[in-house]
Symmetry: C2
Subunit: 218 residues, 2 copies
């Protein structure tokens, strides 16, 4: 569930994080089969924690399990991409709406600082920082399940962004929209903040969908 829990965590939990990152980053290619023995050797452990980790990742939709036939990295799928952004819009609007009444300038400052880092970061770091930016704005809503859900959705969105090798103009446009959202937050303009967030997410989805189809036809 991608909880924000940062405590020590057992080995399996670490493996979940590492394999999840590997899938998001595309090091583990979509559709490739994951053999337990291989992963065990790769992460120098036994098959047992790998098995548990794969089941967790299956729950997040990043791998697909078939009984007695093993696991494959979830394939890239235009429908899933669309669905992901639709769900993100619904979930993030809710979070934004609930967070806004409790959003302090300190919070917005923190998000603004993250946006500054995004501006000077590359594609590899964009997803992580982008997620942090959004979650920071939503954090005051105090809804742990909702935030975990959003975090998980961002992970798969990040995967699609890297897969499509999103262009620079995508990052620039996104940054502009971030600044507009921050501005609306500082002004405590609820309607604008919600509207801008909605557009920000939906248009990002459209753009990535476009990139994906483009890539598929080439």
């Amino acid at each position: 569930m991608t909880t924000g829990d940062t405590r020590k965590g057992d080995r399996t939990e670490l493996l979940v994080r590492e394999i999840r990152q590997a899938i998001i980053a595309g090091e583990l290619k979509p559709g490739s089969t994951l053999r337990q023995e291989e992963l065990a050797r790769a992460y120098s452990t036994s098959r047992m924690p790998i098995r548990e980790a794969l089941r967790v990742l299956a729950g997040e939709g990043l791998v697909q399990l078939a009984p007695n036939r093993g696991a494959v990295v979830a394939p890239i799928d235009a429908n899933e991409l669309r669905e992901n952004f639709e769900m993100r819009e619904a979930a993030e609007l809710l979070a934004m709406r609930l967070a806004l009444p409790h959003l302090s300038n300190a919070h917005i400052d923190k998000a603004a600082a993250l946006q500054d880092r995004i501006a000077s970061a590359g594609l590899a770091e964009f997803g992580r920082l982008n997620k942090a930016f959004h979650i920071t704005l939503y954090a005051p809503c105090e809804r742990p399940r909702l935030l975990a859900h959003i975090s998980s959705l961002h992970d798969v969105a990040d995967r699609y962004m890297r897969f499509t090798l999103a262009r620079l103009d995508y990052l620039v446009k996104s940054s502009d929209e971030h600044r507009a959202i921050l501005d609306a937050c500082y002004r405590r303009d609820t309607e604008a903040a919600l509207q801008l967030t909605s557009l920000h997410i939906l248009e990002a989805g459209k753009t990535l969908e476009h990139y994906l189809l483009e890539k598929a036809s080439s």
Copy 2:
């Protein structure tokens, strides 16, 4: 993730289903510790599939894992109840909105048949049938991830409903609202269907919250 996948499934998958139901039904009490050995004996298997099942259920938020300290059934929490219904509203409105353009009379008929069964069912079956009713209406949206998400949310809502021992008038009111939603669907009145669904969910949340606080103070 509570996929609708109904294929044979390995032992672990079956265990997940059984333990999930036991938690929802309250047979496994909130806060009680789950010892692997006990569960293994109870389901006549070894600890191994139990361990995997617990991790999956942790992902769904039905159990809480603490490294080296085992698992407990997720405690009842008024905040989580509220959050659950807020998330349901957001997710189900999205599903409804996407499904309506593709909703055939056959689909609505099927949902209506489920509603008839709900009317003559008891508290124990309400949750399952209620979930089926809603999912049936949303199914034409063709969004597997979204539907799985909604299904999972319904599971924890069901748990709270049973825990609060929801009164009969709750079930009656819910049935009336179901019929109103069906009516709006037959009329293809999009606005009304969305509005009624929103109220249906939010008021159910309020009611259960009320019951829960009542129970807590007694």
